[in-house]
Each structure stands twice: as structure tokens, then as C-alpha cells.
């Protein structure tokens, strides 16, 4: 079972609908035991970093997610959920994140483009991985902050004035800045790829 972490953040149900559509057994839950026992954990998220960390903390899920990662259980963070995987964020004051990938979450610098980045942007591969299929494909983004991290953790990126990581990975911990559940067939394919990586325990590329 894939556990979708339920912590009162926006629109987690659309992610659930996508997993249901793909026939991936899943459950929306904030139960620590279920999350620890899950085959894989998906951390969604819409909204602000600080508020999200407070909600996770309230449910004692910060330590739970750290344990999940230490147990080598695959984790997929999506949008704000991806940002939470990093060490810290500057959104509304410096806030600590889960610290599962090295880096900090910062405001997209003003290069004359509209902020938030809202719409379809084209990915390019930074390093080989099972997600190679995303190369040249458009996915759907809605965000004002981005992950400033080491290039070795960047699987793919988009250009939005600066290079913005779109898929990041540190071994069994993966993040997607875009919404795969809103990115049409390309997004569904990426969720299937993640499922396959979980089934075959293939996180060796990074």
C-alpha cells in the first residue's frame, strides 16, 4: 500500500484520484504506524512551508517521515511536499524542513517573469534515471519557491529565468516540483515509473 500523508494540506484528493486511476493501492492517512509500514510514502502539499511543517509536527509525522527515509522506504514529495524534503526554507522566515535532501528552498528570483510560475514548462534531463522519459516533456507547475540544491541531486530541471529543479532525488527520497496528477499522460507515466521503481527497489541511479 502507498500511504499518502494526510496533514490538512490542499487538494491531496486529486493525487489520490490519479493513483486510483492507475490502479495503485493507496490510502490517505496520518496514522504513524500505517505510514511506517507502507510500501511507499507520498508527501503531497499545497500552501506555505512553515504552516505545513507545523501540521506535520502536530501529528508527530516529522520524526515518522525521517524514520521512513532511514528505513529505505521510498518517499515521493510533490510540490510543497518536495520542498519539505530539504533542510530549510526561507518562506515567511527561516524554517527547518525534513532534511532528507541537502539544500534550501528559496524564492524564485525576479528575472522579469510572473511569479508564481503557473503553467506548463518543459523538462530537460540533468542526469540519467528511470525518469528519462520526462526529457522534452511539459509538466504543470504552480510555485513561488524553488529548491536550491546540489546538481548531483537534480534529475531534471526547467528554465524559468533560472534553472529550477523539477525532479530531485537522494537515493530512496524523490521529489517532484510539478504536479504529476495534473500533468496529463506525462504525469501519470511518471507516477507509474515511481511505482515501478518501488516494486523493483531500483533507486541506484542516484
Amino acid at each position: 500500500m502507498f500511504a499518502i500523508v494526510d496533514y490538512d494540506t490542499g487538494n491531496t484528493r486529486n493525487l489520490k484520484k490519479a493513483l486510483n486511476y492507475l490502479g495503485i493501492d493507496n490510502e490517505l492517512t496520518d496514522d504513524k504506524e500505517k505510514i511506517l509500514q507502507a510500501e511507499a510514502v507520498i508527501l503531497p502539499g499545497v500552501g506555505a512551508f512553515k504552516a505545513a511543517m507545523v501540521e506535520l509536527e502536530k501529528r508527530d509525522l516529522v520524526n515518522t517521515l525521517k524514520k521512513v527515509a532511514a528505513n529505505k522506504t521510498p518517499i515521493l514529495g510533490i510540490c510543497l511536499g518536495m520542498q519539505l524534503l530539504f533542510d530549510s526554507s526561507q518562506e515567511y522566515g527561516l524554517t527547518n524542513g525534513l532534511g532528507l535532501i541537502t539544500g534550501s528552498v528559496e524564492q524564485i528570483p525576479d528575472t522579469g517573469l510572473k511569479i508564481p510560475q503557473m503553467g506548463w514548462n518543459q523538462n530537460r534531463i540533468i542526469q540519467n534515471s528511470p525518469f528519462n522519459g520526462v526529457n522534452g516533456q511539459f509538466t504543470y507547475f504552480v510555485h513561488s519557491y524553488y529548491a536550491n540544491c546540489d546538481r548531483r541531486n537534480i534529475i531534471s530541471a526547467v528554465d524559468y529565468g533560472i534553472l529550477i529543479p523539477s525532479i530531485v532525488q537522494n537515493k530512496n527520497v524523490i521529489g517532484m516540483q510539478f504536479h504529476p496528477e495534473k500533468s496529463g499522460d506525462v504525469g501519470l507515466e511518471l507516477l507509474k515509473t515511481f511505482q515501478k521503481m518501488v516494486k523493483t527497489n531500483d533507486f541506484s541511479s542516484n
Partner: protein
């Protein structure tokens, strides 16, 4: 670089898509979910559903439609029509909408924009503005264009963005239904004063109209209804043409 969006718009009345959509392969020509799935297949970047139902009773069915569409179709969905308060916004978002468009209620209760943006984030609050040029001035109209106001549309665009609108859906009533091209001047004027995405609506008739509104007015998306529904243009026709002109599309 972000792709320019091509957006079909569907009018929904009492749970059914109203304008006859004539894709030959549909089993039920009025079923919103089936039509949405077909548009996804054709390469639409987003869908707008406008609830034109007059009664509140029927309005509840809109949330059911959103629930159903978002279980089968995986792209951004904007829902508008009859959104009066924060509860309406919440119900639609919870059902699976990504964005909610507010039109008349934004004029009668501008505080709703701020409340919605604070509670759910600017990114999901779209303000829809129906505009008609009268005596040289762009004026805001409400209630499906029936009621004229003396509000200057350019000033109103500025105001709603200040209040928290994350996107503007601007319909030119002068151009709507003419198939004569988008109102380039209107979008240029609005793009000059706001820094949020603008969706142009009204006037699409041929592929060149889309190229023109992207190139001349630099809008973020272009919306059309009948030309897509009646198969006069396909999403793919439009994308190929604008791509050829050097505009980035998906």
C-alpha cells in the same frame, strides 16, 4: 519557458454541457466527463467549466461534476459561475477544482477575493471580468453580461490583483461570438498594469487569431468555446500554427 495555454470552455447547465459538442466519437454528447477526457486527448492545456444554471439547487450538481471529471481527467480545471462566497469556493476546490473563477460576486463583494486568496492561496482565485467598450471606455459588466456597471475594466483589473486574484479571465463582449479575432488592445492595456497570468476570451475564429493574441498582447492563455466544440478548429490545428509562428506551446 512556460507554454502558452489553449483552453476550451464548457457551459454547464443542470449537469449537462449545454452547447452541442459534436465530436463524433462521444457516446453522450452532453456528458462533461466524457467531453473533458476527449479534450485532454486532443491536447488542451486546461479546461474551464462555467455553471450557467440559474438555481442554487442545481448548482450543487456542479461539485459532483467536478468530482467526476477530476477522477478521469488529469489537468488543471477552472470552475466558474454562481460563486458567491467562501463556502462555494471551498466546495469546488474540495471536489477537485484547481482554480475557481469569481465574476459578479467580486464586483458586489470585493472582500470575497481577499478572503478566498487568504484562505486558499492566490493561485486558485481567478477573477473573471466581462468587458464592453462604451463611449471609448472599457466597462465591467456583470451577471453574464446583462448588467452594465460604470467600473473601468483596466482599473478593476488592477484592483482585483491587489486584492489577491492570481489570474484574470477577461472576456471581450464586443468580440464574443464574432469569430473576428481577440480584442488585442484590451489585453495589451490590461497586461501593462497587472503582473498575473491573463486568459483572453472572446473572438476566436481562426488559428491566426491565437497567434496574434499571444504575439501582440502576450497573454498567457487563450480560451475558446464554439470553434472547438463544433470542430471548426482542433486544439492541434491551433498549436501547430502558433508553434510555427515561434510561440512556445506544449
Amino acid at each position: 519557458m512556460l507554454a502558452k495555454r489553449i483552453i476550451p470552455c464548457l457551459d454547464v447547465d443542470d449537469g449537462r454541457v449545454k452547447k452541442g459538442v459534436n465530436f463524433v466519437n462521444l457516446t453522450d454528447v452532453g456528458d462533461p466527463t466524457e467531453i473533458a477526457a476527449e479534450y485532454q486527448k486532443q491536447g488542451a492545456d486546461e479546461l474551464v467549466f462555467l455553471d450557467i444554471t440559474a438555481t442554487n439547487e442545481h448548482r450543487k450538481t456542479m461539485a459532483d461534476i467536478v468530482e467526476s471529471v477530476s477522477s478521469q481527467v488529469f489537468m488543471p480545471l477552472t470552475i466558474g459561475g454562481g460563486v458567491h462566497d467562501v463556502t462555494d469556493i471551498q466546495r469546488l476546490l474540495k471536489a477537485g477544482a484547481d482554480k475557481v473563477a469569481i465574476n459578479s460576486a467580486a464586483v458586489s463583494d470585493p472582500e470575497l477575493i481577499t478572503k478566498g486568496a487568504e484562505k486558499f492561496g492566490n493561485q486558485c482565485i481567478v477573477v473573471a471580468i466581462d468587458v464592453k467598450k462604451t463611449a471609448g471606455k472599457y466597462l465591467v459588466h456583470t451577471h453574464g453580461g446583462k448588467n452594465a456597471t460604470d467600473i473601468d475594466a483596466i482599473e478593476w483589473a488592477k484592483e482585483v490583483v491587489k486584492r489577491g486574484a492570481g489570474e484574470l479571465l477577461i472576456t471581450s463582449m464586443d468580440k464574443d461570438g464574432t469569430k473576428d479575432g481577440f480584442d488585442i488592445e484590451l489585453y495589451q492595456a490590461i497586461n501593462e498594469v497587472v503582473n498575473v497570468p491573463i486568459i483572453a476570451s472572446g473572438g476566436a475564429g481562426k488559428v491566426e487569431d491565437f497567434t496574434e493574441v499571444f504575439e501582440e498582447a502576450d497573454v498567457d492563455g487563450a480560451l475558446a468555446a464554439s470553434v472547438f466544440h463544433f470542430g471548426e478548429l482542433s486544439i492541434d490545428d491551433v498549436k501547430q500554427a502558433v508553434r510555427k509562428a515561434g510561440v512556445v506551446v506544449r
